[in-house]
């Protein structure tokens, strides 16, 4: 009996307490048939990557509204490569200034969604890049 489901980790890094966006996205993905593992607040990149590893997820979505995106995303990308998890899709969102996005995408992050993004766009991205 084949039961293929897409598994996604939604993570909140660092001291950032803004969890509304992460929860909205998690709920939305659940409603669209995804299995979402939520990490809760205050996660280090190491914790995020280890959780993704143990949960064998297809993708990691990181929500950053604290300004720490330029540290968190590259660190997660680096750890994933070290652990042999280069095939895991990384995406995210939050208050990330427009000009910071291209360099982050260059590290291998697949997409970043800024405040006000319609959730349908996230779904489109998921279908195209994750499954």
């Amino acid at each position: 009996m084949k039961q293929k489901k897409v598994r996604v980790l939604i993570a909140k890094p660092g001291l950032d307490g803004h969890d509304r966006g992460a929860k909205v996205v998690a709920r939305f993905l659940q409603e669209n048939g995804y299995e979402v593992i939520y990490t809760g607040l205050h996660q280090s990149p190491e914790q995020i990557v280890n959780a993704a590893l143990q949960e064998a997820v297809d993708a990691i979505g990181i929500s950053v509204l604290s300004g720490s995106h330029n540290y968190v995303f590259p660190e997660v990308m680096k750890l994933l490569k070290e652990r042999g998890m280069g095939d895991v899709v990384v995406f995210g969102g939050g208050t990330i200034p427009e000009e910071d996005i291209p360099p982050l995408l260059a590290t291998g992050v697949k997409a970043l969604f800024r405040p006000g993004t319609p959730l349908e766009e996230v779904l489109e991205f998921m279908k195209e890049n994750v499954g």
């Binding site: 039961q3 593992i37 190491e46 280890n50 590893l53 064998a56």
Partner: protein, 319 residues
């Protein structure tokens, strides 16, 4: 990656990906599991069940810490329900356990029920086998928040704890037929709230009735905890081991293990049989006609099922 070799060496990535294969019903996963099987049967398997929000995950988190203090490696399988509408799920048990994410002696895997009833997911048993083979000394299974009938955990765990709450007096009366009977120990969590002692007493009275007639019977202890403040946790872990010792001494552990094995086997046969039978039937004209007749209520489902079985397994007279 050689899943079997790597999993046996404790490689978490290999173990995680293997569990994923098994969860998806990939036949390759089963081949790997066969190879791992001789290395299973060593772990102490604990079940944690109880109503939604009772504090199961918080307790598991604290119990992990206590077991780690005792130098034991811990695997966790935490089950949450899938949405019957979307098929998706939010698996939130892990939130309470994330502090252990950087400890290589701990492995936490969340699972969605994916329509499986009974409080677990179809592949929970397989995930437990993988963790067992990987060398985790203790494997904790957290069920979905249960009502009454989700008691599949007893077939899986060696020792099962039922988590209760202060103020659920009437509920405990209602519970007695269902999960009250499966507890090897009872935890009254959130004992920082009023009403904990009443629930303890009520449970004790009801458990007394259950075990009064038998001298050797295990008398399930009722323990108070405040999981958020780490109170009463060492006592819970001690009670797990006291129960295990009792089960070993009385031979009940071996009996339970055998029963569990039988249960697992029977479930497998059921699942594989259904898969084969439908696999053979689907696409045949006869089966298509059968479905049409069923839908039109010209054929009753009992006769239909009998006919299908007779045809695929032989023996019967195919009308």
């Amino acid at each position: 990656m050689n899943y079997v070799e790597e999993a046996l060496r404790g490689n978490q990535l290999a173990g995680a990906r293997l569990i994923r294969l098994l969860e998806e019903g990939d036949p390759q996963g089963i081949e790997h599991l066969k190879a791992l099987y001789p290395h299973t049967g060593r772990a102490f398997i604990l079940g944690m069940t109880g109503p939604p929000g009772a504090g199961k995950s918080t307790l598991v988190d604290r119990i992990i810490t206590e077991l780690r203090r005792r130098d034991l490696k811990v695997g966790v399988v935490a089950v949450d329900p899938s949405s019957p509408f979307s098929g998706g799920a939010i698996l939130g048990d892990r939130v309470r356990m994330q502090r252990h994410a950087t400890d290589p002696g701990v492995f936490v895997r969340s699972m969605a029920t994916r329509g499986h009833l009974g409080g677990l997911s179809r592949a929970t048993g397989e995930a437990v086998l993988v963790l067992d083979a990987m060398g985790y000394d203790v494997i904790l299974i957290e069920t979905v928040g249960v009502g009454q009938d989700e008691v599949e955990i007893v077939d899986m765990a060696h020792t099962t704890a039922v988590v209760c709450l202060p103020g659920m007096g009437d509920d405990i009366q209602a519970m007695k037929a269902g999960i009250l009977e499966i507890g090897d120990l009872f935890i009254v969590n959130k004992a920082d709230r009023p009403g904990a002692d009443e629930v303890v007493k009520q449970l004790q009275v009801m458990l007394e009735m259950r075990t009064a007639h038998d001298q050797d019977a295990w008398r399930p202890p009722v323990l108070k905890t405040v999981a958020v403040r780490n109170e009463g946790i060492a006592e819970v872990v001690d009670a797990f081991y006291t129960h295990r010792d009792h089960q070993e001494r009385t031979g009940i552990l071996a009996e339970r293990k055998a029963k569990r094995q039988m249960h697992f086997f029977r479930e497998l046969v059921k699942e594989m049989a259904a898969e084969r039978i439908f696999g053979v039937a689907e696409g045949t004209d006869h089966y298509a006609r059968m479905l049409v007749d069923l839908t039109a209520r010209r054929l009753d489902p009992y006769t239909a099922a009998e006919t299908l079985l007779d045809q695929t397994l032989g023996g019967g007279d195919p009308r």
